[in-house]
Symmetry: C2
Subunit: 84 residues, 2 copies
């Protein structure tokens, strides 16, 4: 039960952490210093964590990675858009 | 067993994904477009995942998050250094 709380906190923190980056790119329309490889690889990595979470039936891993995947994809799309 | 392989792949991919960002900052000495809040929050989030992994005794979670924590901290240090 305690591990569930720690897992949920970890998931919420990691997921929420992507928000300021997404907002910063959206506001400044700049993303030149961000590594595209990093965020594309992160998307695939997060997708694998999501699959892993489904396999071991751990809800915090499933929910956190589903939300993180959406935000990471958004950052990738904005990075490509504003790096043109 | 299959979940262990998926977990290890996810961990390796997410961990390795931080490398190009760290190398990019190191080479360009630029990190202005990166969100400091994002990477500081990620450090705390990854630390909590590490604790969670230890609690549920899942080796892929422990190893991946230990390595990611080192790289995320490195990015935070460089971000602070090169944003001055």
């Amino acid at each position: 039960m305690t591990s569930l709380i720690v897992g949920i906190l970890a998931g919420v923190l990691c997921t929420v952490s992507f928000l300021p980056q997404a907002i910063k790119i959206f506001k400044t329309k700049r993303a030149g210093d961000l590594s595209l490889i990093t965020f594309v690889a992160l998307c695939f990595g997060i997708l694998l964590w999501l699959i892993y979470g489904i396999m071991i039936k751990e809800l915090p891993i499933i929910l956190a990675n589903a939300a993180m995947l959406v935000l990471a994809l958004l950052i990738v799309v904005m990075k490509i858009k504003y790096s043109k």
